[in-house]
Assembly symmetry: D2
Homo-oligomer: 337 residues x 4
C-alpha cells in the first residue's frame, strides 16, 4: 500500500491552511483562554462571535469562535488561495468533480467558497481578508504564548490514503508519512503541505472525519513555557494535555492544550523550511524515530472535535501507536530494598 | 505536628551541599551520559574512578563515579564548610553528640570529615578542593545541558521532621514544607538550605534513608531541551523520567533523568534567591499549589538509590502524593460519537 | 518616485534565494569560521573548494568557498526555480531580453543557468541539488549559531528602483521599502521576496553592484549569543560588526559578522510569514520606525564584497542613513560635577 | 600596588547589597520606565515617593524613587545585615572608627543605620523589611525585563584600592580586579561580594564617589531582548546605552539603560556562584580577557549620578579603558573600488 501522488498541475492554486471556526459553550471563557494563554488578539467581536488572529498576522482572523447552545464542534477549515481567480477555477473544478461547491458571503473575509472534501470535512477557500496591523513588534501587548500565526490542522479519518488523495490532487505535497511495518506498509499518518513547511493538513488513522487539532507557531521554546506558566497562574493548568516535548521526527517543540470546550490546540516552535523540487516524502516507522518524547496519553490519541453535522465513519479504525498509560504500566516498579 | 526550628548559632558553619559519590556498573557508559547529556566535564579519571564538575565550578569535583562489581549505590553526600577550623569544630560537635565522626584522606579534596546523620545517611564535610579553571566561558566545549553547578540533594526518610532536625541543629533553614491537611499537619516534605537559595538538602516521607536525586543548575530553559535533544540523538531517550515541567511551588523548571544505573539526576533552571532575616518557611498543601506540571510517575515517587551498606527503615511509609498513573486513569476517555 | 510593480505572471517560477559562492584567501581559516561560529556543516570539500549547508538543509550546499590567490570576492548568487522546465523557460526569457543566459555544468547541483541581472550582478538558477540528510535533530553536532538555512542576500546598487525592476519582472514581490521624505520619496532600500517571508533579495542605495551580505536563519535568539560566545572563545571576536539587535521594522533579531575575508554574513531569528494576496509593500521612513537598535557603523554602511570582474558604478551614491560614529558624536558628554 | 585583604572576622555580618534610593524629576515617567521596561512591581506609593521590588523579591523594596525639584541624584545605598543584633554591632564598630553612624526611622523597613563609607558614599544598613508576596510565578503580571532581584551596585572613586579597603574590613571578598600592566599593577577596578556571586559592590577608577549603576538579575537572555523590545515599542529606545553583550570576564550577559533622569541601571543574566574557601581574587588585564563585546561608549565610562550633597574628588582620575568612539575611529574604512 502506498501514499497518493501529488498533482503537479492542480486546477487552482492553494496558498496555505489559514483559518478555522469553532463553536463554543461560553464565549467569554474561551476568549480568556485564547487571549491569555495562547496569546491571540481580537480583531472583531460581537453578537456571540469573536474573530482572533496571531500577533504576527495581517490577516483579519485565523480563529473564529461562535457561541452555541448545542454541542461545541468545528464548523469549517479555511484555506487561502492565491487570487480571486483561483476561487472561480476552484468552483469549476469542484463542480466538475461533483463536490457541489457554493459561494457564500461571510463577514471580515473576501469572496468565499464552501465545499467538503472526499471524506466529508467541511472546507472553505478565500483569497483575501481585510488587512490588520501586524502586532509582533508591540511587545508590551504580548500574553502567554504570544502565538504568531496559524500553521496547520490535523484530522482523523479511517482511511488516510484515501482522505489525502483529495488534497494531493489539489497540489498538496507529502512531507512525511508513517507506515505500519507489520501491515503491508499501510500508511497510518500523512503530512501534507502547500506553503514551505512540512504541514498544512495532516491525517491520522482513526474514525472520522473529526478535527484532531489546529496549530499556531510561537517564536521560540520560551513561549511554550510562558503559555504553560500563564495557564498555571490563571487557572488553566487542567487544559494541558501533552508536552512540552519534541516531535519524534526531529521537528518542532510543542505543547497541546485542550481549550475550555475540549477543542485541541497545539503551539509549536518554527518548523523547518521545505519544498525544493528534490524534497521527497520521508517514510517513518517505529524503527527510525529517535525522540525523547513520551507516548501520547489515550485522550490525545482518541479524543477529537466533531465537525458540525458530519457523521463519523469507520468506527473500527484503531490507533496503532503506543499510549502513555500502557507505556507506564509496562515498566515494573523497582522499590529499593 | 510541626517542622523543627533552626539553630541560630550552630557549632560550625556549613556553606552548601557540594558533592556526591556514586558507584556505577560501567564507568564508560556513565561518563558518556554525564558528559554528553548532563554536560559535566572530567577533572580527573583513572583506576575505575572519575571526578567530574559543572562547567562553572572552580571546585575540583561535584560528582565522583566509582566502578563497582556490586549493586550500584550512593556512597556519600558532600558538604562544604567555611574553613578548616570549622572541620575541627564539627569533629568536636559530632563527637559530643555521639555520632562518631572520623577524619579521612581522600584524593582531590582537603581534609575531610565523615559522619552519618541521625537517620543513617553517610555525609562528608570538607573546606577546600584544588581549584580548577571555570569553563563557563568556553562555549565551544559545552555539551547537552552544560550543567553549571551542583545545587542540592533530596533524600527519602520515614520521618522527615526527625530527619530534618539533625540539619536544623546545624543551622539549616527551612524554605518550604508540605503538610498533609488530613493528618494533623504531618509534614510530608521539608526543604532546607544554607546557601542563599531554597534547597541544599530535602527530605520526603518514604522508607529510607535512600537517595532520591541530586541536582545541577543549568543556565536557562533552553538547556533543558538541549539535554533532552542530545539524549534523543545519542540513544539516551529512555533515561528521561519526568519533565520538562515547572515545580509546583512556582520555582524552577526541571527535568529528571535516570542515569545508566538508575541513579536520578535533576537539572533545573536558576532558583530564586532567599535567606533574608524575614524569610520564614512557606507551608504548602494541595490547596495552595498552582502549577501545570503533571503528577509524578510512580517510579519517581518510589524508586531511589540505596546508600552503600545502610539499611532501609520504615517500610510502611507511603507517598501521599498523586501519581501520574492514577491521574491518567481518573480521566474518562471521551470518544467522539 | 516609486517602487516597481510585481509581474503577476512571470515567464518562469523562482522558488527562493538559495546559495552563494565566494572566493577566500585561506580556505582552512574560512572553514573554521563558518563551521565553528556560524555552525554550517561541510557537504563536500577538496581541490581548494568547500561546499557547506545549514543544519536543516537537505540541499547539498548553500555556501561554496573557493580558495583564491587573487582578491577575495563574490562569484555568484544562486536561486532555486520550481522545476527543470522553468530553467528552459528562463533561458528563453533571458535570451529574448538580450541578457545572454548560458547553461553550465557544476558539481553537486542540477542543470544550472548563468545570467547577470540588469545592473550586472552575476546570478545562477537551478532546480535541484543532490539530497543530503537534514541534521537539525543531530543536536550533538551543533556548533556556534547552528545556522538552519540560507535566507536572503542584500546588494548595493546606485539606483535601487532600477535594479529591483529586474526582479519584480520575474515575480518578486516587495515586502518593505524605505523612502527619503526630503527627496521626492526616492526609494533608498527595497526588500523583495518569492518564498513566504519578507526577503530573498534586498537592494540598498550605494555604488554597486556589490554584495552587502548574505544571511542564515537560526532557531532563536539564544543562538545569536551562542555564535558570539563561541566567536569570543575561539578568537573570532574581531569578526563581530553589528548587533545583536532587532531590525528597525519590528522584524528579526540579528548579528552581522565579517568573515576572515571581510565578506559579511548575517544570522537572524526566524522571520515573519507573508505573501497573502492582500500583503502590500510597507513604506518606511525615519518617522515611522521605532526600534532600540543603534545606527549602523560606517563599515556596515559602506564596506562590501565585489563581484568578481564586475565594475562598480555610481560612485557618487551616498548612504542617507545615520551612522553610529555620528550618532555617538552628537551626544554631548555630561560629566558629573 | 595591590588590592586590600578581606577581614575574616568582621565586626558584624553583612548579608548583601539590597536596595537603593534615587531622586527623580518626574515620578510618573520614572515609574513607567521601571515598571514597563525593567519590570519592577510597586509595593507602595504616595506623597511623591514610590517603593518598588523585583518580581521574585519578598523584601518590601529594592528601589525607592523620590520626586525632587532639585537635581536628580542618588540618596543612599542599602545593605542587609544578618540580624538586628548586627546593627548594634555595626553601630559600635562605626562609632569606634569615627564614622559617626546614626539610627534613623524609615517607612517600610526595620531599624536602619546610616553611615558614610571612607570615600563619602552614603550607606544604610537594615536587617528586615516587611514581607511581600513573591510574584515570580505570577507570569501574567510580567512586563519588560521582569527583573527578578536587586544584585549589586557600582561606584566610581579616584582610588579604588583605598575605597575598597572600607568594605574588605567589613568582610567583603574580592572576586575580580583589573590592573594596569603599564602602571605598576595599579588596580583600576575591584569587584567585591558578600552573598555567593561575584558582586555586591564594585569600584572603578574615576572622580567620585558617584553612582555608576545599580543592577537587577533577569531570568535569562530572552528577558534582555524583552526589555529592549518593550523599550522600543513604548518610546524608551533612547534609554539604551550599552549592550546587549557579555561581560569580558566570561560572566553574565547584560544591557545598560539610562533611566529618565540618566541614572544608569543594568539588567544581567544570573551570575555564577562563588565563595568557597579556595576562591581567590581573579586578576584581569587587557591581555587575558576574551570577549566579543565592543568597548563602552564614552558616556558609560564618564557619566554618573551624584550622591546628594556629596562632593566629587579626584577630578584628574581618568578611565584607562578603550572607548567605543576611539575604537570605531581606529578602523580605516575600506570602500570597495
Amino acid at each position: 500500500m502506498s501514499v497518493p501522488i501529488t498533482n503537479p498541475t492542480p486546477a487552482f492554486s492553494i496558498r496555505r491552511a489559514s483559518h478555522i471556526s469553532l463553536t463554543v459553550a461560553d464565549l467569554e471563557v474561551s476568549l480568556a483562554f485564547y487571549t491569555e494563554v495562547i496569546g491571540l488578539v481580537v480583531s472583531a467581536t460581537g453578537d456571540g462571535v469573536a474573530h482572533l488572529r496571531g500577533v504576527e498576522e495581517s490577516a483579519h482572523h485565523s480563529l473564529t469562535l461562535v457561541q452555541t447552545k448545542g454541542e461545541p464542534s468545528c464548523r469549517r477549515l479555511g484555506f487561502r488561495v492565491e487570487s480571486d481567480a483561483d476561487l472561480d477555477r476552484a468552483f469549476g473544478n469542484f463542480s466538475h468533480l461533483g463536490h457541489r461547491p457554493e459561494f457564500v458571503d461571510l463577514p471580515h473575509q473576501g469572496r468565499t467558497l464552501h465545499v467538503s472534501d472526499s471524506v466529508g470535512s467541511p472546507l472553505e477557500f478565500c483569497a483575501t481578508m481585510p488587512v490588520q496591523q501586524r502586532l509582533h513588534d508591540q511587545f508590551q501587548l504580548q500574553k502567554g504564548a504570544a502565538a504568531l500565526r496559524y500553521d496547520h490542522v490535523q484530522l482523523l479519518a479511517p482511511d488516510v490514503a484515501k482522505a489525502s488523495a483529495f488534497y494531493t490532487a489539489l497540489g498538496f505535497r507529502i512531507s512525511d508519512y508513517f507506515v505500519d511495518l507489520e501491515e503491508d506498509e499501510e500508511p497510518l499518518g500523512i503530512f501534507m503541505y502547500r506553503k514551505n513547511n512540512p504541514h498544512d493538513i495532516v491525517f491520522l488513522t482513526r474514525p472520522g472525519p473529526v478535527l484532531h487539532h489546529f496549530a499556531y507557531v510561537v517564536a521560540d521554546s520560551t513561549f511554550l513555557f510562558r503559555a504553560l506558566d500563564t495557564a498555571g497562574a490563571l487557572g488553566f493548568s487542567g487544559n494541558l494535555e501533552r508536552g512540552p516535548a519534541r516531535h519524534g521526527e526531529g521537528h518542532a517543540l510543542y505543547v497541546y492544550f485542550r481549550d475550555p470546550d475540549d477543542h485541541r490546540v497545539e503551539i509549536l516552535t518554527p518548523p523547518i523550511q521545505m519544498g525544493d523540487a528534490e524534497d521527497v516524502p520521508m517514510r517513518w516507522h517505529r524503527g527510525n524515530r529517535h525522540s525523547w518524547e513520551f507516548p501520547a496519553p489515550k485522550s490525545w490519541l482518541y479524543e477529537a472535535s466533531k465537525f458540525e453535522g458530519v457523521e463519523i465513519q469507520g468506527k473500527g479504525a484503531a490507533a496503532k501507536l503506543r499510549n502513555l498509560e500502557d507505556f507506564l504500566a509496562s515498566r515494573p516498579l523497582k522499590m529499593p530494598e
